[in-house]
Symmetry: C2
């Protein structure tokens, strides 16, 4: 970050709240967990007692969205408060294609983005990320370069095992240095699904909270990933769920949520700590029985149907957030940026569009603010939701080439003209749905109806205005290069675990859908 | 009922419990309400605060079934404790076709069936049915001929308006006599959906409970029907729901549930009153936005997929049933027969097979009893569930003739080889699903897998044994005759509302699916 930029930051960050008033923040972000995976959201096995209790003591937000139906862009948006199209987490290699940060990705979170922990750091917070970063694995993109004070976790997905010759295993970091690798030091048995990673992530969280409880305010970003393939759980949880291995992982994460809330309560800081539970995108329906449950919603991860972006969200702050209430505020993970900064007494950058809104009125006063939800896939605005109405400007699941190979984003679901296998442009006459009457996006409202005519005009004006003001960020997910893989991450020398990578040979990343 | 039969009844009905110990019973049976229509079961609008509270103070039963995916057979089974194939509520006009009791039906509940209120009457109970009877509209089939002491409601669905010339409007009864007709005295505005029927049904319930509270034990069967097409709500509720008119009806029923529970509590009889909330079959998916929500389950009403028969069930009895617990007991509406009679100190008939089991261990001791669920459609055993496994012996939705006309039992859903439009016989190699991992019945377990081989043998033995012991009842839903319609129901003379019907001309009823 340039000095000029740091000075600029200094200008708009002001400490309006005193040190004592600043609440702590905890985001528990699940990976590929679906809206319908929690008992309180209707999962039939009802195996999430801790989350259900969290909801009964806090606020349930059934109309809460991720900014994108795929991991990295969703996470970049959460931390930047801005849509992927603005923060650069998208590709222009193909129209409306999903992209993320595998380890050969060249790009990452741009220095020009002002991340949540960066702002909080200036406001006196100590921030820790536990788990999956996913905002770029080259060293300049790492969490400690962007405002986090501590990190335990990995830059990429826990895919593997790789051979460390054609592809290195993913490194695990303690703060700025790698301390080992998945499948070498941190094991996941892909056959049995056994791994104690979630237990480690829980312990990391409890330790951090304990350490920080009596010091300055903290921000804990608990980005666990047991429900992302390869799905894992520890021996104590394996085979326990009615739902198979995916359910084992959910149960262990639910246990973790219980542990963290218990710790916060034991330490007497629950009233000063805003805890948000959510997920980065919808359940991975293509993973079949090893993927999440999106309840009554259409399709899943990687699509802009509700199943792809509606997240199981709970807010918890006893004494501040009323217990057992439901808020139909249309919310977004990006709102956490604006909400946290505001509550911490900071100011939101004014030199750029920030998409997140301050949810404080919804959380603390049960108010509902009207605002649209923009559904993006790659570089395309696919749909807009306003109140109960959702208009699709584009529809697409995946191409027939992929679909015919068995990759199905909407297994068992097929809605004519909606779950299309070619990209359909409806911009001239968007497909309109009423999500209250029709949460499954099954019944297109007739364009000839008065209801359509009234609503669509309003939505089209919002979409036009959005497009007009849009300044797309430099796309970060276009170029790949095997040389940027995790061959020799920072700290590898200290433990003699550096690998020799190939020479740089950049190429356009291939994003199949 | 013959005298000999009455004497026989006398033999097996014994009052084991004393008068004071006998609990009251309330069944709140919804009409075409889906599993996913309650907030606590994941309806996204979360508009059922009273039911959600009932669940938090009682027991949630997510694995609870109706005996049949269509109204009359389901209700006949509830009151007889026996499958439709045994009590006669099925047709042999066509294989595996759904049938019910429109007003030209000749049949009804046979005298040989010993209904729940009949048994309870002998045990000193006073029973009232409020709402829809549906066990035959000829006078000999009416509720007061089968054990109920009071009735306010109608024998058939609230379809209409009819012209009283080619078809009479459905009569509304007070006990043994008709007191008016739908669309004449009891209005439903099909255009706006306005009707105060639910309010009347609520008031009837409150009055009955009040009257009985200090007398002998009672059984209230609250069979409201606002969520069955034509869906209705009173002016106070119309237009209030996020879900449109269907949601308005749900909200009014939820309000009614709240009123009834409040009354029971106010009167100090909550601890002595077992209240069960459930529905007669799955949400009518073919009604599109005017039909219920079946959550993550496949298809809906009239099918033997989970969406057709999995019911939103809550049991409530403060002090006896622990609060806020979930029971995965495989339950059936038929179990209420056995459970209530047992709790009332009676004995279950031993001269016939009763399908219902005593749920007391599940309700009061949180035990789980292993038992199969038999899924029937008409005269065919379509599927069997054992633990988490469900084996389909037959699959069918509806025929292409109907489907091509737009009647779709599985809108937006299509699973190859499962949601078939011809009747597929899988008896030799049943389609097996694991409902825990796969509640949507999407992923067929491979017949070559060890899992399949192990389970299917067990299920096939259960099915074989079931078929072997089966003595089908005389089918009641084969013959129709316009002369048996509600032309001159009992009591019509008193209010001068008798109509002249045609001469008897019986014909085979036409059941299209």
């Amino acid at each position: 970050m340039s000095l000029a930029f740091v000075l600029l930051l200094g200008c708009w960050i002001q400490s309006a709240a005193t040190q004592q008033q600043k609440p702590n923040f905890i985001i528990m972000l699940m990976d590929d967990m679906g809206w319908g995976d929690l008992g309180v959201f209707g999962e039939p096995s009802k195996e999430t007692p801790n989350l259900d209790r969290m909801a009964s003591q806090g606020m349930l937000l059934p109309d809460f969205y991720s900014a994108n139906p795929i991991c990295s862009p969703s996470r970049a948006s959460l931390l930047s408060g801005r849509l992927p199209i603005r923060n650069g987490f998208y590709t222009t290699n193909a129209h409306a294609h999903d992209s993320y940060t595998p380890q050969d990705i060249v790009g990452g979170i741009p220095d020009t983005e002002i991340l949540l922990p960066e702002v909080l750091q200036k406001l006196g917070y100590r921030s820790k990320i536990i788990g999956k970063w996913h905002l770029g694995q080259q060293p300049q993109y790492h969490p400690l370069m962007h405002g986090f004070d501590e990190w335990f976790g990995a830059p990429n997905c826990h895919f593997g095992p790789f051979d460390d010759k054609t592809q290195p295993n993913i490194p695990v970091f303690r703060d700025a240095d790698m301390i080992g690798r998945y499948y070498e030091d941190y094991l996941i048995d892909k056959k049995t699904g056994e791994s104690n990673l979630t237990q480690i992530f829980i312990q990391e969280a409890l330790t951090f909270i304990e350490q920080q409880a009596n010091k300055k305010p903290f921000f804990l970003y608990w980005a666990v990933d047991a429900t992302h393939e390869p799905v894992y759980a520890s021996t104590k949880f394996l085979g326990k769920s009615q739902r198979g291995r995916y359910g084992d992982a959910v149960q262990e994460l639910d246990y973790g949520v219980g542990q963290i809330l218990q710790k916060v309560n034991e330490l007497g800081i629950a009233n000063d700590t805003l805890v948000i539970f959510s997920s980065d995108n919808g359940g991975a329906t293509y993973a079949k029985e090893m993927g999440g449950n999106n309840g009554p919603f259409l399709c899943g991860k990687q699509t802009t149907f509700e199943g792809g972006v509606r997240e199981p969200t709970i807010a918890y702050m006893p004494g501040r957030i009323p217990a057992g209430v439901v808020s139909h505020q249309l919310g977004s993970l990006m709102d956490l940026y604006t909400t946290f900064i505001t509550l911490a007494g900071g100011k939101i950058p004014t030199d750029r569009i920030v998409d997140g809104i301050d949810l404080s009125p919804s959380l603390f006063k049960h108010a509902v603010q009207e605002r649209p939800i923009f559904y993006y896939r790659g570089n395309e605005l696919m749909a807009v939701r306003l109140r109960q109405y959702k208009a699709h400007f584009w529809t697409w699941t995946n191409g027939l080439d992929e679909f015919n190979k068995g990759i199905n984003f909407c297994p068992g679901e097929e809605i004519e003209g909606v779950t299309t296998h070619e990209q359909m442009n409806h911009t001239a006459e968007p497909l309109l749905f009423h999500l209250g009457r029709d949460p499954g996006e099954k019944y297109i409202i007739k364009p000839s109806s008065p209801e359509y005519k009234q609503v669509i005009q309003e939505i089209m004006m919002i979409a036009d205005d959005h497009r007009k003001k849009l300044v797309p960020g430099v796309p970060q997910l276009n170029m790949c290069d095997e040389s940027v893989m995790n061959w020799a991450p920072p700290g590898c020398h200290k433990i003699e675990r550096c690998l020799q990578g190939p020479k740089s040979k950049p190429y356009k990343c291939f994003w199949p859908h």
